[in-house]
């Protein structure tokens, strides 16, 4: 029999659970589980009253384990961990069992089935809790300084934001000047602000702040340490190949390295033919020409825009960009409005696959049509053909789906390939940061909705277009989100890390190196134990994914919280059916 003293609380959730699960029968069944000394039903486990009752039970009954069967652990793990802490129980001896989202709510049609399942789920939770050990979160003091990598609109705005809440900033830009893409733009949608002027203003603000130290021609080349206390090596590339390394100590790092514009291959939609431009090249040409847009001194009369170049590519291409770059429809439509403002007689043809002027940018699309732009739609498998003509014009042939596949021939002065965003080539930085990239090769956030600027490397945040295509206002919004996330760590002065990491049993380990090979965070290293070579986990580097656990040929690694013994005990708990007592 177990010598544990556990408390189990089954929540009614005000009927959300108790309407579909016989919670009293569940209680009567699990009260006989080994190690359970308190089993109660509560109307609402998260309410103050219930929490008080649990705290009292933990203290009076000297409980050493807590199981709350209620909603999804996503909602209240931290609530009950903190309750345990207040009651004097180690928070890592608490298990939340999901009997709402994964039981009552999904079996509203089967009270008997749901009740039996709740019993099995709770039995597994009890079995797991019986095998927990007290763990302490790892507490790390934080350095009130931050490093911002990338000096475009996102990095500049983030640096100012951090500085204004009292966090010193090191701002690092790889190129010779701050400003990034936006500093190359003239008038931008939706407010007609000039990109160059916006950036000039931001750079002035950066200069005004004494607690921002900025570097151009500089790169982040090495990063060590962990959240709250990173050591970063900045390499400044001086004149004549002179390199200076500067070491800084920071609590958080914000990555704002932006994007590259898609570069079409030679011959892709006629790229390489005189007069065929990418979208950024065309914008530059537009900005340069005052008044009526001209090229080689001649008025541009006919313009063809080919959309989705380098975006939404077919699967069978090598390393295709499967994603939609989403900013380009707006940018191209906006460019065509700029053209028609300066030359209302210009004829503009937009060859689209789909039009994605989302949100309020739809108004731009409407305006462009009112101004006379013509939209034609081509099929995914029937792209337009762009060819050079002997008269210096460019012939574009397209089958228009909007007129039932009619073949059109347009003679253009300029063809604009509406190119999207691609991940910035930056192998060294990816290597230094050890940040995972997604299928589209942009940096990956932890959760697109709930944790949109955090990465699996705690204390390293991403924002702007390094994370995926964004326009400049979305970029700044995410930069400020990264500022807030950084500040929430750095202003508190310390961080607590979950101690649910991998652990090696040195007596079982015979160092074969398999685990080291599969850890992308370099958190496993060879070390000595009583004269033998064994694996050792670096606690600051381990992310707790458990990827090393199944590759160990000697079962010498466990993930705390999900140990081999716990998983097997849970499997047994799930299987003891209905009201069968333990034999």
């Amino acid at each position: 029999m177990s010598d544990r003293r556990m408390g189990v609380y089954i929540c009614h959730c005000g009927g959300n659970i108790s309407d579909y699960v016989d919670v009293e029968r569940v209680r009567q069944t699990i009260v006989n589980e080994p190690g359970v000394v308190v089993a109660k039903t509560v109307v609402s486990a998260c309410s103050d009253d219930s929490q008080q009752q649990m705290i009292q039970d933990i203290r009076e009954q000297n409980l050493d384990g807590l199981v709350v069967a209620s909603c999804s652990p996503k909602l209240h793990t931290f609530t009950f961990r903190s309750l345990a802490r207040r009651a004097g129980l180690n928070p890592y001896r608490y298990t939340q069992v999901n009997v709402r989202e994964q039981c009552s709510w999904t079996h509203t049609d089967d009270r008997e089935g749901a009740t039996k399942k709740a019993i099995r789920l709770i039995r597994a939770g009890i079995a797991r809790t019986g095998l927990t050990e007290p763990l302490e979160p790892i507490r790390i003091d934080t350095v009130p300084q931050a490093l911002v990598v990338g000096g475009g609109i996102a990095g500049l705005r983030a640096a100012i934001g951090l500085a204004d809440i009292g966090i010193s900033v090191f701002l690092v830009e790889k190129s010779a000047a701050f400003g990034g893409w936006v500093s190359r733009f003239g008038e931008m949608y939706p407010h007609g602000k000039n990109g160059r002027q916006l950036i000039t203003k931001l750079i002035d603000e950066v200069k005004k702040r004494k607690n921002i130290t900025s570097f151009t021609n500089a790169e982040l080349v090495e990063k060590s340490g962990s959240i709250g206390n990173f050591n970063a090596k900045i390499r400044v590339n001086g004149k004549g190949g002179k390199k200076d390394d500067i070491n800084v100590n920071v609590g958080s790092i914000i990555i704002a390295t932006g994007f590259d514009a898609y570069q079409p291959g030679e011959g892709e939609y006629g790229y390489g033919v005189d007069g065929v431009f990418t979208l950024p090249e065309f914008k530059e040409l537009l900005d340069k020409s005052k008044g009526v847009p001209v090229r080689n001194g001649k008025e541009i009369k006919d313009i063809v825009y080919v959309y989705c170049v380098g975006s939404r590519q077919p699967e069978d291409l090598e390393n295709p960009n499967r994603y939609c770059s989403r900013y380009c429809c707006n940018a191209a439509v906006h460019s065509s409005i700029l053209v028609s403002e300066r030359n209302p007689k210009a004829r503009q043809y937009h060859l689209i696959r789909d039009m994605r002027t989302y949100g309020k940018y739809e108004l731009l699309y409407g305006e462009s049509r009112e101004r006379g732009s013509t939209y034609l739609r081509f099929g995914d498998d029937d792209p337009p053909v762009v060819e050079k003509c002997s008269d210096g014009k460019i012939k574009v042939t397209v089958k228009d789906l909007l007129t039932f596949g009619e073949e059109m021939e347009i003679k253009a002065d300029v063809v604009v390939l509406v190119t999207g965003m691609v991940p910035k080539k930056n192998e060294e930085l990816v290597g230094a940061l050890k940040l995972p990239v997604g299928r589209d090769r942009f940096y990956n956030e932890i959760h697109p909705k709930l944790r949109p600027v955090e990465t699996v490397v705690d204390g390293v945040f991403i924002c702007g277009a390094c994370q995926g295509p964004k326009n400049s206002s979305e970029t700044v919004a995410s930069a400020l989100a990264a500022v807030t996330q950084s500040a929430s760590i750095l202003k508190k002065g310390y961080v607590e890390l979950d101690p649910l990491m991998a652990v090696v049993y040195p007596e079982l380990c015979q160092w074969c190196g398999e685990c080291e090979k599969v850890c992308p965070y370099s958190a496993i290293e060879k070390s000595g134990d009583q004269g033998r070579e064994v694996a050792r986990i670096n606690k600051a580097g381990c992310k707790g994914c458990g990827g090393c656990v199944p590759v160990c040929p000697r079962d010498a690694i466990d993930l705390k919280g999900y140990t081999d013994a716990q998983m097997k005990a849970m499997i047994d708990g799930y299987l003891r059916d209905g009201d069968t007592p333990l034999s």
Binding site: S72, P73, K74, N98, R100, E101, Q102, C103, S104, W105, T106, H107, T108, D109, D110, G113, A114, K116, K117, R120, L121, A124, P436, V437, G438, R439, N444, E445, I446, H447, P448, K449, T455, V456, L500, V518, P520, K543, G544, C545, G546, G547, V549, P550, D555, L559, Y562, D564, M567, K568, M570, I571, D572, Y574, L575, D577, G578, T580
Partner: protein
Amino acid sequence: MAGQAGEGKDFLPKILVFSTHNISDPGIDLAGSSHMHYPPTVVVASMPCSSGIKPGWILYAVERGFDGVFLATDGEECAFLPDCAERTAQIARKAQELLSQNGYDPQRVRMSAVCSVCAEPFTNHMKEFSEALRKLGPARKG
């Protein structure tokens, strides 16, 4: 007797699902929040990442009485490991080998990516898997 159902119409296959905290669990939760129904003989064990599942646990689950094990993986969305999908596929293959070696049908292991909003796909997976296992019959012999 309840829980001892044998072959035939009364047989309700027991399914163990391994899911992940950040990606597939929210999808499975969403199925519940949307009151979608799948058999109550399905239970879900959530882990940080599907690459941390030991093939031995899958064999253990079948030996102890589960009729099938489903790996609800992060697919390409895993925030921990860029090659998570391949790793989990490897784990599933190893588990299938283990099952075969021990006289169980390898079709008792299935895997599929379940995203954080994949409520309906998950529900359908459970119904289909349950049906397939019903045809296979109980895993435990005797």
